[in-house]
């Protein structure tokens, strides 16, 4: 009884296995033939942390309808299937690395493989245990023409790299910007660099002139930025210029402040400009007033000043947030000439519609640099101009090149795009 049972179960078991491994049995029947795949190699995936390899071999026109199975092993005895793919699925262009590291046009079958995924290794352990790299054996089984061919076995190492060559384009860009920056700084210290006239600055003269004629004050609002912001720095330089004009024309100026540090700096600046205009006697301490460091309370207080004093001109220069809306509207209401300038995009629409002249974004920096001639401001502006110049040349030049290449040779187009591609 016992033996019968045993026999029966063995038969059932073997039948089961049989059914289960039907496919593999077929393939064994088919007799795996040996094949020499040309140039089959495993190389380290460049510029990575050390967990990937690239496997490649030459394309063979005769294998067009073939399927490939790629096997990896750590000891060339136990093989794990890493990938199964058709002939067309394994091309050199699938590997996403730029042209200066990899020729995408080569006529090869290529595949990138993450070894930690294939051998299901924990990344931490993997890197700890293989500091010098991870050796892998690989072979390819080609299936086609109702036959199976097994390739030769090759060996390769996945190792950690020290430089991301694929980010070379970025490094070059950073270097270019840095070098240009240092060249411009050293030149700016020696002599004055050219900045074109900013159209809005002429409007300042006009506004101050009108204020003098009407005998009404000018209100200058330096915004709610701190002294470290470029827009506030630019604003203070413009304030210096406005102060000079006002001192010359003998008009009155009022500057309400949000930030205590900006307040102290502005006091010095205005005093200096009155001295430079030769009117130190007209300078009064109450030109600059400190209001409060609270956005809405500041806006409400400035609104109060504008409604009461009914200025002939209002300047809004610097960093503004939502209060731009509250301020410009009241200024427009009292009929003042309004000149604004800010680098906050979202506030520009409100200034643009409610003011007579608006300095947009970088124009504010440029106005500050133009008036002050301060080497650091000027050189930063010059580097920005250089960046814009680069952009214009690249955008126009490469668009034309791409148009041409798209007609004649598409692979060049890919290479051109690689130059800017971020990885």
């Amino acid at each position: 009884m016992n033996r019968k049972f045993l026999l029966a179960s063995v038969i059932i078991l073997s039948l089961g296995i049989d059914a289960f491994s039907n496919k593999s049995k077929d393939s064994i029947k088919q007799n795996i033939e040996k094949i020499e795949l040309k140039n089959l190699s495993v190389v380290d995936y460049p510029s990575d942390k050390g967990n990937s390899i690239i496997l490649y071999f030459d394309k063979d026109e005769k294998q067009k309808n073939f399927q490939y199975e790629i096997y990896l092993s750590t000891d060339s005895a136990n093989w794990i299937k890493a990938k199964q793919a058709k002939y067309d699925e394994l091309s050199a262009s699938n590997i996403e690395i730029p042209f200066w590291m990899w020729n995408k046009k080569r006529n090869i079958n290529a595949l990138a493989i993450d070894v930690t995924k294939v051998f299901s290794l924990q990344e931490d352990d993997y890197f700890k245990q293989n500091p010098k790299g991870f050796s892998v054996y690989a072979k390819v089984i080609a299936i086609g023409d109702n036959k199976k061919y097994e390739s030769q076995i090759v060996k390769g190492i996945a190792k950690a790299n020290w430089f991301r060559i694929d980010r070379l384009n970025n490094l070059v860009l950073v270097l270019i910007i840095s070098i240009v920056f240092f060249i411009i700084v050293s030149r700016a210290k020696k002599r004055e660099l050219f900045i074109r006239k900013i159209a809005g600055l002429e409007a300042i003269d006009e506004a101050v002139g009108r204020a003098t004629e009407m005998g009404k004050p000018v209100v200058y609002i330096p915004g709610i930025g701190s002294m470290s912001g470029i827009s506030t720095i630019a604003s203070i330089f413009i304030l210096g210029e406005v102060g000079k004009k006002i001192a010359q024309y003998d008009a009155t100026l009022k500057v309400p402040h949000y930030d205590p540090i900006v307040f102290t700096v502005a006091k010095e600046t205005v005093k200096q400009s009155y001295i430079e205009a030769g009117r130190p006697d007209s300078y009064r301490e109450d030109i600059n007033v400190y209001i409060t460091t609270d956005q809405f309370a500041y806006a409400a207080a400035v609104d109060g000043i504008i409604t009461r004093e009914k200025p002939a001109a209002c300047f809004y220069m610097g960093y503004f947030m939502a209060e731009s809306l509250l301020l410009a509207e009241v200024g427009a209401g009292v009929g003042a000439i309004q000149i604004a300038g800010t680098d906050v995009d979202s506030q520009l629409p409100f200034f643009f519609t409610a003011c007579d002249y608006t300095l947009i974004g970088e124009e504010l920096y440029a106005a500050g640099a133009y008036l002050s001639k301060e080497p650091m401001l000027v050189s930063a502006l010059k580097v920005q101009d250089f960046g814009k110049f680069l952009f214009i040349t690249f955008a126009i030049g490469f668009s034309i090149l791409l148009l041409i290449f798209s007609k004649i040779e598409t692979s060049y187009a890919e290479k051109l795009l690689d130059i800017f591609r971020v990885r």
Partner: protein, 222 residues
């Protein structure tokens, strides 16, 4: 003294700046490990930055109360608000809800912090309406273009606008939604991109200046 006051800080900024910059180009695990610990450090250091705000707010209102300046009584409410929330936080051990029920802290969030901060900014809606009425001047072609785009976006953003558009311009076979999408994704993208480039280079220059110790504004007075 200059060495500890000035040169060591400048060296710190240079070293951390350059190594962090380099980590962008180094795929090796060492770069990951460096980032791991520096990220933890930054997390801790920046947490303390908040106490700066606390000290300066407390100090300025303390001064107001001490000098009995106009409206000093309101300054007391700064402290009251602070202690209400801190008290609730301590009672609730920093948890907003426990087992699906609101804690004291959660209650304070919903009924004190939330209404205060949400209302502060919603006030701006009122000023939009008065700007539209009193100071939106279409005085040039540029301003007209601005208005037209604003108009299309406003109409495209509301269902009623879609209906109005279909009634008036239905014959064009274009929906307002399509035009709105096109404005955002084509001409306005060009405008925004033009602004972006200069700012991006400007930011890069600022980073360079900081790393090389040229920009020291954040270090305070010399």
């Amino acid at each position: 003294m200059n060495i500890i006051k000035k040169y060591i800080p400048l060296t710190i900024v240079f070293i951390f700046g350059i190594i962090t910059l380099a980590s962008y180009y180094v795929p090796h695990r060492a770069s990951d490990e460096y980032l791991e610990w520096i990220n933890k450090w930054e997390n801790i250091v920046s947490a303390f930055a908040l106490f700066l705000g606390m000290i300066s707010l407390f100090y300025s209102h303390y001064k107001k109360i001490q000098r009995k300046v106009d409206g000093w009584g309101y300054s007391l409410f700064v402290y009251i608000g602070f202690f209400i929330i801190m008290g609730a936080a301590i009672l609730s051990k920093g948890n907003i809800s426990k087992e699906g029920k609101l804690t004291y802290l959660g209650w304070s969030f919903n009924n004190i912090f939330n209404p205060l901060s949400a209302t502060m900014f919603s006030v701006l809606a009122f000023f939009i309406i008065s700007t539209a009425y009193r100071s939106f001047k279409i005085k040039s072609f540029a301003a007209f273009l601005l208005f037209i785009c604003g108009l299309i976006l406003m109409l495209g953003n509301i269902p009623l606008g879609e209906i109005i558009w279909d009634k008036v311009f239905g014959w064009t076979k274009l929906t307002i939604g399509e035009i709105k999408d096109w404005i955002i994704s084509v001409p306005s993208t060009a405008g925004r991109r033009g602004i972006m480039i200069g700012i991006a280079i400007g930011a890069a220059v600022t980073s360079l200046k900081i790393i090389f110790g040229i920009e020291r504004g954040y270090m305070g007075k010399e």
